[in-house]
């Protein structure tokens, strides 16, 4: 029984064990067994995709699922009491998977709940299970996670998946990590300070596109900009183009936590580097392995 709040809650060996277990789920060698367990999906901030992914993962392991995905629960942020909601949920379930728009909400919930809490995204902080899926994909594609060159493109300031990815990479000694973003969306100092590998910040992905093994694309959201024109400008220059991908190594990979809107040209989908749908296909097996570890593991 454990919480999953930050990717740094895992040791490297725990990550590797989880990946091996996911391999076995995919090959059918291992079947997560959560019969008799109930998983609550508490999506205070709505996300159909992630909620469904966890639901499918839980159901496929034999667990029952209840929960909500609603905006209403958080529409009144002042005076809202997350603690009470968590106390209620733990009477109904053996594990709480939660997403919330507030930073640190998952950690707070985990302190309240005696049952394990899995962070499915807290504000702009972390989304550890997405990073696990992303790194699992890297391992599948390259046979290793060590010594690779990564590029992160787009909104690196508010994208919680990027935070979790940058942190999980501290376990795997990347050769170089390029952070490509508009100046106002650069990665946060508190994340960068703790990294133990070489990092370079730049503004144009085309400068280093040929060097990359993995290009991780994120969406730039309108609400991060006060000025509509500014947003349009930035959005256009951080859109991944067909011509740019042509300059990538053939065996390199483009990842994206999905859903994507317009930041990847749809013609790229059929190029060999496009791996985001493959990446998405690992979500359910990995999350079911994780749910097993959290609720039935030792």
């Amino acid at each position: 029984m454990r919480d999953v709040i930050s990717i740094l809650d895992f040791s490297k060996s725990e990550v590797l064990e989880l990946f091996e277990l996911t391999d076995e789920v995919l090959s059918g060698k291992f079947k997560p067994r959560l019969e008799g367990k109930i998983v609550a999906t508490a999506f205070f901030e709505p996300s159909t995709r992630t909620a469904l992914s966890f639901t499918s993962a839980a159901l496929s392991a034999g667990a029952k699922v209840l929960g909500f995905s609603s905006d209403e629960a958080t529409s009144v942020s002042k005076g809202e009491n997350l603690a009470d909601t968590i106390r209620m949920l733990e009477n109904y379930a053996d594990c709480i998977v939660m997403r919330h728009k507030l930073d640190g909400s998952a950690k707070f919930a985990a302190e309240i709940a005696k049952k394990p809490v899995i962070n499915a995204g807290d504000g702009k902080r972390e989304h550890p299970t997405q990073a696990l899926i992303d790194m699992y994909t890297v391992r599948k594609l390259f046979g290793t996670m060590e010594g690779l060159t990564f590029g992160f493109l787009g909104d690196l300031r508010y994208a919680r998946t990027v935070n979790s990815m940058l942190r999980i990479l501290t376990m795997f000694r990347p050769r170089m990590v390029y952070l490509i973003s508009p100046p106002q969306l650069r990665a946060r100092a508190e994340i960068l300070e703790e990294l133990n590998y070489p990092v370079k910040e730049l503004t144009d992905v085309r400068d280093i596109i040929g060097e990359l093994d993995v290009l991780y694309v994120t969406r730039i959201q309108r609400e991060r900009f006060l000025d509509e024109d500014e947003y349009e400008k930035v959005k256009e220059s951080y859109r991944l183009e067909y011509r740019t991908v042509e300059k990538m190594k053939r065996d390199s990979a483009i990842l994206h936590p999905l859903p994507r809107v317009s930041e990847i040209d749809r013609r790229i989908d059929s190029m060999p580097q496009a791996k985001y749908f493959l990446e998405a296909s690992y979500a359910v097996p990995l999350r079911s392995a994780l749910l097993h570890e959290v609720m039935a593991g030792d």
Binding site: K78, N81, A83, L102, D103, G104, G123
Partner: protein
């Protein structure tokens, strides 16, 4: 100290010396002392100091500062000396150590932090750098600088 501002010795209690000039009130605030508690308190502000130029001094009668409180004082007065007095004698000194954790005292500057949005959440900061002081919110990881800490405590 210049003559004319000499404050008599206290019999029992705590003397806090070498407080940076102007921060004695903040020290009282950290200790939760408002004046209505009835302790006899001598407060000297902007006294001459050979070491610091100017300094503040606090003498609080019948109140012993605990280790935990001394740690909090360190946040705003890192070079203060805290002496516990019994029968006019110094019987103990509190170590000046920056606390590893500051619970409840400070506010997170991130408006989207859970601690600013849930009635039950209590702030908790971890010390990540001692000089200059830097704290990190245990919930959202937002950093507090020394200036911000002093500003908040001075209120």
């Amino acid at each position: 100290m210049k003559s004319g501002l000499i404050v008599s010795k206290i019999r029992n209690g705590t003397v806090i010396d070498h407080i940076p000039a102007g921060r004695a009130l903040a020290v009282l605030k950290v200790l939760g002392i408002k004046g209505i508690e009835g302790y006899r308190i001598a407060l000297v502000m902007n006294a001459e100091s050979s070491k610091m130029g100017k300094k503040d001094i606090l003498k609080i009668e019948d109140r012993e500062i605990e280790e935990k409180e001394a740690e909090l004082i360190t946040l705003i007065a890192p070079d203060a000396t805290i002496n516990i007095i019994k029968d006019y004698e110094v019987v103990g000194k509190r170590k000046q150590e920056i606390p590893q954790e500051v619970v409840g005292l400070l506010r997170c500057t991130n408006p989207s932090c859970i601690t600013n949005n849930d009635v039950e959440a209590v702030t908790r900061f971890r010390t990540i750098k001692r000089k200059p002081l830097q704290l990190a919110c245990e919930y959202c990881e937002t950093r507090l600088t020394e200036d911000e800490v002093v500003r908040q405590i001075l209120g």
